[in-house]
Amino acid sequence: MSSGATTRANPDVESYGGKAGIWFLVASELILFGSLIMCYLLMYSSRPDWDAGRAELVPAMGILNTVILLVSSWCAVMAHAAVDKGDLKLAQKRLIYTLLLAGAFLVVKGFEYSSKFHHGHYPNSGGFFTFYFTLTGLHALHVIVGMIAIGGLVYAQSVDRLKLYPQRVELVGIYWHLVDVIWIFLFPLLYLS
């Protein structure tokens, strides 16, 4: 028997391996975003002219997106709780809510981007807006990856396969909470301070 089959047959082993993988991913993401944020702080602290760029952001949109991500994070952990009590249908329902909220986040971000483009601010404009588009764009990319992963779990339940690997709801949830944690720091950094 191949080692892959052995691993698949033991949910505990798969769960541990999956958890190690997802936490190593979290660690690498922390380095990626941590470095970018440090670069932003280093440049911003000596560029008073960047305040003019920041003043053009609409904090209401950032506030709305923060609430959306916090609630979506709650939906994801509630899906995990539903798996714990053996109700995969309920878990699927809560994952769909998470997915819808992730979509809402991207719609708000899309409105924000279109407003910036309308005012002539692009990723290659230089200064504040280059950092703004890099940080938020990279974060939005992570939101899209999370949506694909959550969509995969929703689909798995719809074809009755989620019961084979229910622990993946927790793993995808950990990734989704990471997306939330990153935004928790990006929001005050770009919109409030």
């Binding site: 506030i63 916090l70 709650w74 944690v181 929001f187 301070s193």
Partner: protein, 101 residues
């Protein structure tokens, strides 16, 4: 809160309300005309509190094996060291690009 919620579900819902509450504090704090340094302490302090709650209660990091906690702690420590090391450059490098050459 629905009565059929388990203890875990009630706990997660409670944490959500805490997160929304402290978030509201940071919004109010940034709009009541405080000095910028005070606003920065409030908004980044609240961000740290929110991140702590999400990592502890939603991601369950403290319940993971030591190697996983270490794998996440190491980059956080490195970022903190990085921040301390570049602190003297804050307010200087941006307007003195030749300094980087």
């Amino acid at each position: 809160m629905p009565s059929n919620y388990t203890e875990h579900e009630k706990h997660y819902t409670h944490i959500l309300w805490i997160l929304l509450g402290v978030f509201a504090i940071s919004i109010v704090g940034s709009y009541i005309g405080l000095p910028q340094w005070a606003v920065q302490i409030i908004v980044f302090g609240v961000a740290l509190v929110k991140a702590f709650y999400v990592i502890k209660h939603f991601m369950h990091l403290p319940q993971e094996a030591g190697v996983m906690i270490a794998s996440v702690s190491a980059p956080l420590i490195l970022i903190a060291v990085f921040l301390i090391l570049i602190w003297p450059d804050f307010g200087y490098v941006g307007t003195n690009m030749e300094y980087l050459k």
